[in-house]
Symmetry: C2
């Protein structure tokens, strides 16, 4: 509404092409798979064309890398959000994470983790995607360990690994049998965490968010 001509129908300005391309790639890569989607289709879905795509991303592989980098960034942000919502309360952060897991497995479609899927599709060991994927999953696992350690769990690595694998298993198996074990993973996580929960004498707050069984 600033310096625009008045009677112009205000075509609601599109985001810049790079963002549109990345958004389109995200949608198509996730829905159909990386190898199954051509750059032309991405450009078209982004309301632009191949040339513009190649001006922003030197190659399809670069676009894939950017796509995964974006996904990884958002995945990492979850943890910061959690520690921001429940500062100094690791137990509440854990519960928040379980809710996040629950939400992801019910709301999001049946395509699982886009990053893990990319790991399946991009198998060339020297592909730039590999590093992004491996680093992301490792960070995620380490974040879990740190969280459980902070919350005073007796064996944080063990619990983190188990929780990690349960979640990963849920996200892959929802692609095979959508109404299978995956939808019950949140319940599993809660009872598992309750079993291994730290005893009361730890430093965690233990106010309202003590682990609950269903």
């Amino acid at each position: 509404m600033a310096s625009r001509t008045i009677n112009q129908p205000a075509v609601l300005p599109l985001p810049p092409p790079r963002e549109r391309i990345l958004a389109a790639a995200r949608e198509l890569f996730y829905r159909h798979g990386i190898r199954a989607v051509g750059v032309e289709a991405i450009a078209e879905a982004a309301s632009t064309n191949k040339m513009t795509l190649y001006r922003h991303f030197g190659s399809k592989d670069e676009l894939i890398a950017a796509y995964l980098t974006e996904l990884a960034k958002e995945g990492d942000d979850i943890w910061d959000q959690l520690s921001q919502e429940h500062p100094g309360d690791p137990q509440a952060q854990i519960e928040g994470w379980v809710q996040y897991v629950e939400r992801i497995l019910t709301d999001c479609g049946e395509r699982g983790c886009a990053i893990a899927n990319a790991a399946v599709e991009m198998r060339e060991f020297d592909h730039p995607a590999r590093q992004i994927i491996d680093d992301y999953k490792m960070r995620k696992r380490n974040r879990l360990v740190a969280l459980f350690r902070e919350a005073g769990y007796a064996e944080p690595e063990q619990v983190a690994d188990e929780v990690f694998l349960l979640f990963e298993g849920a996200r892959i198996s929802i692609q095979c049998c959508s109404s299978g074990p995956a939808v019950r993973v949140a319940r599993m996580l809660r009872s598992l965490l309750a079993e291994h929960a730290p005893k009361a004498h730890t430093k965690s707050k233990m106010q309202k968010t003590s682990a609950k069984r269903s």
Copy 2:
């Protein structure tokens, strides 16, 4: 050594082309991914050619389906083998399965479950592969439930789901961080099973194969 001419150098007869093609497809699909491998490469790896391939499999999709059917068959056979090795002893069958899991995750490469990988790659909901994949994973889950029920576990579905997801998670995450949590899944399984193991008054034999912690 029957009616073959004596001085003929006995070129060690190859298996029939169909088997060779299926074996080559298996190797290449698993190693590089289904979409990443062309039919020509498969024919060549099978020491034959595209024409012969298309005489046995009407299309690449049919070959994929045959590939997955074979894998599913072998996966199903595991259970029969287990119940054959430990007839009437479900607890021993469970332990045998855990050893099988252990073996798969250490011996086999870092490519995870070929069937789950196929589920990631073949996303067209009407692809013949989908049915094979979904059915297989469901059978597997149900086998686990049956086994735990037979062994007298109090909540066989819960335990089976948890075990199922742990295994699936291990097989997918070994493709992301190969020396990560996946390699410790057997230990997890054993302690998990020990925790939920049926009390002594069940019908299971409980001789030598009582659950052991490490």
